[in-house]
Symmetry: C2
Subunit: 238 residues, 2 copies
DNA sequence: TACGCAATTGACAATTGTGTAAGCAACCAC
DNA sequence: GTGGTTGCTTACACAATTGTCAATTGCGTA
């Protein structure tokens, strides 16, 4: 994603300046990769309105027809974009979950990572665009992704939940925690800036980090101390 | 918003079927209202791609030129839409905060209301569309909106924080809580369905309610019991 | 070197959405 | 009624995009 992103801005700067250059020929695979990279960059920075074949083509230095050649039609490009993003996302989050020494990953650390991927790096916006766009029912790829994560995390949680004599955490509680973290990360990635503005706060990296840290402590606290109370209260209600 | 929404679907069903009807003439105000209603319905259900002047015109039974007459251009329509939505949102949330008898509103209740407006009723999607669309820096209207809310809520919180001998909650903690609730409500409204799918849960109203309730208890618990611990821990960190 | 596959191009067609201008027609005031 | 204001319409100009197709050319291979 890095290589082509630079070129996007470059091309943006000095217009269509690939005049004298000879026609370059990529492998099909490489072409698809470059196109997806450029499309991703445009999508996160400009929204779906910015996803125009001609522009993407200019970014990677080919005509829009070439893109159609590789992806059949615009829909095909969007679909490919969606699956690739989902796969990358999943891989990175799973990677963040495994500590090198097999110890319990700290909630704050994991949350930090999730936020970094979803919020800071723009995946949330990308996913939002793709999700909010109706008519695409499919996206089967991301299905069960969070379920898997939940299993992994709950396993860890039960494993490390201390030698205390209190009850082990309920699976549903873990599921809720995971869902909450994901929801917050997406919400922050999509609306975070606007919300902070509306809160009269500035949107500096430091401010974002403070909020993330606070949230991390909240979750950590819930999982460390409060979960038995919470689950007890949970059970008492209808 | 209700009156015209029905007509949207109607028109969707039986095509452009306003043939024999005479030309109707509304007041400028009424016309604007109807147009905004239809636009809002389209925006929340179809995304910004569905915001086409011709379609909106067909929904309310006028030509697309009439819309341009009322809003100057498409931009004007979108701006009007944004301000109106922000105002309504603010009004409803403030209304939810004031209990009839002046007692402390329960966190769960307020959260429920916020979710209902933002998530269930589609305001989150609408706001997301409008926010994610770049190039519009303005939206000054919503500025400070959450700040105001935070002040109101913090006031309530300090007022009712029990006669305990513990410290009163920090203002920053309240700000974080408000920001978190807003973030979750937006995140849920925008990505909630997709996330629940990815979690292998079904997206029934009951399931949504369960999650909201769990989250409400988490927040309530934080504000009731844990805030002194949390803020202490907060202060101890850099 | 010659050949052929497939990536790439360039021109063009077709569609669709925004915006303009001039005229028509409700409704109000007199 | 008569006239004026203005909501609304029809027709058209215009731009931007996706998609098609034949032609071109880079590059591995026989």
């Amino acid at each position: 994603m890095s290589e082509t992103v630079g070129r996007v801005l470059e091309a943006e700067r000095d217009g269509d300046q690939r005049s004298g250059r000879k026609r370059i020929r990529r492998t099909s695979e490489e072409a698809r990769r470059q196109i997806l990279d450029a499309a991703e960059a445009r999508l996160t920075s400009l929204g779906p309105e910015g996803l125009r074949l001609q522009d993407i083509g200019r970014d990677v230095g080919m005509s829009h027809s070439a893109i159609l050649h590789h992806f059949e039609n615009r829909e095909g490009l969007v679909k490919a974009l969606a699956s690739r993003a989902a796969e990358q996302l999943k891989a990175e989050v799973l990677a963040a979950l495994s500590t090198p020494d097999g110890s319990a990953p700290e909630a704050g650390q994991v949350i930090e990572k999730v936020f970094e991927i979803l919020s800071e790096r723009g995946y949330a916006r990308l996913a939002a665009w793709l999700t909010l766009e109706p008519r695409r029912e499919n996206r089967r790829h991301s299905r069960q992704m969070i379920a898997e994560l939940t299993r992994v995390i709950h396993e860890l949680r039960v494993q490390h939940h201390g030698d205390a004599d209190r009850d082990p955490p309920l699976e549903e509680d873990t599921a809720n925690v995971v869902l909450l973290v994901a929801t917050v990360a997406y919400g922050d990635g999509i609306m975070g800036k606007a919300l902070r503005m509306a809160a009269g706060r500035d949107d500096t990296p430091a401010a974002r980090a403070r909020f993330r840290a606070w949230f991390g402590r909240l979750i950590q606290g819930h999982m460390d101390d409060c979960f038995d109370q919470a689950s007890a209260r949970d059970a008492s209600k209808p």
